[in-house]
């Protein structure tokens, strides 16, 4: 296939853009985390995230989070058009700092949970969830 100069330039531009876009998405995730933590350091013990390894359909993916003693847990989907999923704020009558919900995933990506623990420190956990494209019926 012969490319004109115009086509080559357009293609390279598009290719460059696809390299840039994921980085921009990651910036959104970093911003969301910074907003939640106020820039504080984030450890990796203290929050547990349960998500399926393979989601049968990206429309409804069941997940749960648990962080004993936490005041809040934020969930992000690193590969979605907007990373925010939900923030659980636990009140005085919460029997445990855990919750389950169902979320949408646009494609295979990391799901991240950040918990604000009782002592003011933060903890992070993440899982990669594969989202499949079905055969018949989509």
């Amino acid at each position: 296939m012969d490319f004109t100069r115009r086509e080559t330039l357009a293609l390279t531009g598009a290719a460059a853009l696809t390299f840039v876009l994921p980085f921009r998405a990651n910036a959104a995730v970093d911003d969301a985390i910074a907003n939640f933590t106020g820039g504080a350091a984030v450890g990796d013990a203290g929050v547990e995230l349960t998500a399926p390894e393979i989601a049968e359909n990206g429309n409804t993916v069941p997940i749960s989070v648990s962080a004993p003693g936490a005041t809040a847990i934020m969930i992000l989907a690193a590969g979605n058009p907007t990373p925010g999923v939900a923030t659980f704020n636990f009140g005085p009558l919460a029997a445990s700092q855990s919750a389950s919900t169902r979320m949408r995933l646009a494609g295979t990506q990391d799901v991240i949970a950040i918990a604000k623990l009782a002592d003011g420190s933060f903890a992070r956990s993440s899982k990669t969830v594969k989202v499949t494209i079905g055969g018949c019926g989509g």
Partner: protein, 108 residues
């Protein structure tokens, strides 16, 4: 007001004082994310439930900020402590300003 929005909550009928119980909530709502386009290619505007709260006798159990990535017909499961008999109040706040409520009493 989004049409046909119906909440469902599952709370045990009774518990012992101080017991931890599991609460499940479901509400029918399309949770239009703002990412979809209609048949002419125009984006369908976002229209979701953006907040859910559960209180017991006025005290907060959980307060959830919700984003478009929560699935259609939002579902939540969490645990609450029941210090005494009383009422659980569940509230969902819609982007369009509507507020949906449900209450469940529990005996001790």
């Amino acid at each position: 007001m989004a049409s046909g929005v119906k909440p469902r909550v599952k709370v045990p009928k009774s518990a012992s004082a101080g017991e931890a119980i599991v609460i499940k909530t479901l509400i029918s709502h399309p949770m239009e994310s703002g990412q979809r386009k209609d048949s002419s290619g125009n984006p369908i505007p976002r229209s979701i439930i953006n907040r859910f709260t559960c209180e017991f006798n006025g005290q907060s159990v959980i307060d959830i900020t919700m984003e478009p990535a929560i699935s259609t017909n939002p579902y939540f499961e969490f645990e609450a402590t029941v210090p005494e008999a009383g009422d659980f109040a569940f509230t969902w706040y819609d982007d369009d300003g509507s507020v949906y409520n449900d209450t469940q009493s529990i005996a001790v």
